[in-house]
Amino acid sequence: MQHYCHLLKERSVTYKPAGTGKIFTDPDADKARVFFRDQKPRKMVNKVTTVAKAVSELVNDGDYLGVGGFGTNRIPTAILHEIVRQRKKNLGFAGHTATHDFQILAAGGCINRCDVAYIVGLEARGLSKVARKAVESGSIELTEWTNAALAWRYKAAAMGLSFLPVRSMMGTDTEKYSAAMEMECPFTGTKYLAVPALYPDVGIIHVHRCDVYGNSQIDGIVVADYDLARAAKRLIITTERLVPNELIRREPAKTIIPFYLVDAVVEVPFGSYPGNMPYEYFSDENHLQEWLKAENDPETLSAFLERHIYGVKDFNEYLNTIGGMARLQELRKLETLVER
């Protein structure tokens, strides 16, 4: 019988910082356990609230945010707008696949530190001038990572650990400006990079359906939200639809986020607009282009933000400014009625 017991030998290892970046959040797993024990609701109670209340009660100046979805897909736009409207300041941000979400918070001047995997761009649509300026001026402190590294940092936290070993980033400047540590596998001696667990103060995720307790289901790709939901100290869920608990129980395999992870639930129909919500509505490419264009001139941008964010009282009023139900129906048609 083959065995590998020769790997079980005493080793001396050196752990060495691989980069010069800062760690913005505490990776300590024991502290997280105590926080979760004392602060996470194990009582199945109605958590339905409003966007304004969720933000004023759960997002504090200086908090570190993790935002779900993928930049322009299944993003919690209503909460992001409200954070800007309530003029939250000095927020930390996990720049994991961040595109329009980062653009919104950068326009509001809300962020002062950021773990970067992907920011300032909107994929094929181009770069956001405002987001770029915020970064290039040095007003946002950066630590460099990759999409997988940040997904795995959430995963480490979701596992209740303080780090995970990974095999990317090595040998690059991405590593040099990260806050990873060089390490060796205790069994094989293989060189790995240790990435610290990321426990955000607040996670914000938009889902297809959830019940009043926060039991949430997502249709389509979950991106990093399975782990983000578990890593976040406080979790705000916005949902296209509130559904009876009975509906969740009918298809429990679909539940990505159980109630005991959730602190607040808000029903926000079309809540990912102008992002794409799989099986519900496509992204509003015209509006996203308008954003990018408005950024060419500071006055145009102020007027744009006034019209769509500061000058409206809530997300429904925002939806009215972009053409209301008629426009939303067009986007729904693009997503669901056309065999593309």
Partner: protein
């Protein structure tokens, strides 16, 4: 047969994707190349997107690597960690990457240009998943226009590892052995990597282009294959499928 640079690059790229393999793509040209390969050469090619889409039957091109199209009638709508861990387990054969700068070892910059790290002159999005995919997939390919600004001796920031600074450097840095840059497909030529030195080596020159033109548009010294050939131009079939089925609105092939 008339064709533009973008059409040429997509058609050539599509021929490198073997059947029964897995390819990780982004939006735009790489995605078009993978679908073209599926339709003409490699029907059982599996397309993957970093946000979690696995094996979609793409009917039009995604705008975002995480939009609904990226898992339209897919085999699985999974997660980023699922896809990245599949790469880390060694199951993904090809990845297409892009960037603002590339050097002779195939290192790619998509992070910043000029200034210092905290106050760069120009900030780009950063790695996204590029570094992970270039570290973990077996063969890295690029589709990119070729000019001196882009093909430069020293890039401002190594976002994604190529062969770093030569043979053995990836392994020494700790990256999984046996993978790295494979082909760079430009508007002028197809470039591979020299087995010994891991430097860029021109393998074929596109019809109507010259060696001088390629040298003029490259900021470092290129190697030249002994059996340097002229690239096979896009076929009638390739162009027909690309224009009529894959990108009828010319979103990708109409870009200049």
């Amino acid at each position: 047969m008339e064709y533009n640079d973008m059409e040429l690059m997509i058609c050539i790229a599509s021929r490198y994707l073997e059947d029964d393999s897995i390819v990780m793509v982004g939006t735009g040209a790489p995605c078009a190349a993978a679908v073209l390969a599926q339709k003409l050469y490699s029907p059982r090619l599996t397309i993957m997107f970093e946000a979690g889409g696995i094996g979609p039957l793409l009917s039009s091109m995604p705008i975002s690597v995480g939009d609904s199209q990226s898992f339209y009638r897919a085999i699985a709508a999974s997660s980023m960690s699922e896809v990245m861990e599949t790469c880390q387990r060694g199951l993904v054969d090809y990845v297409f990457l892009g960037g603002a700068q590339i050097d002779q070892y195939g290192n790619i910059n998509s992070t910043m240009i000029g200034g210092s790290y905290q106050t760069p002159k120009v900030r780009f999005p950063g790695s996204g998943g590029a570094n992970d995919l270039g570290s973990l997939c077996w063969k890295t390919m690029m589709i990119t226009p070729q000019d001196k600004r882009r093909f430069t001796e020293k890039i401002d920031f190594i976002t994604t590892p190529g062969y770093i600074n030569g043979p053995g450097a990836r392994e020494k840095a700790g990256l999984p052995p046996g993978c790295g840059p494979y082909k760079v497909i430009t508007n002028l030529c197809v470039i591979g990597f020299d087995e010994q030195s891991k430097r860029m080596k021109v393998e074929s020159i596109h019809p109507g282009r010259t060696k001088e033109e390629i040298i003029e548009n490259t900021g470092f010294e290129l190697l030249w294959a002994d059996d340097l050939v002229i690239s096979e131009p896009p076929s009638k079939d390739e162009l027909a499928v690309l224009r009529n089925e894959i990108d009828p609105y010319r979103y990708i092939i109409g870009r200049q």
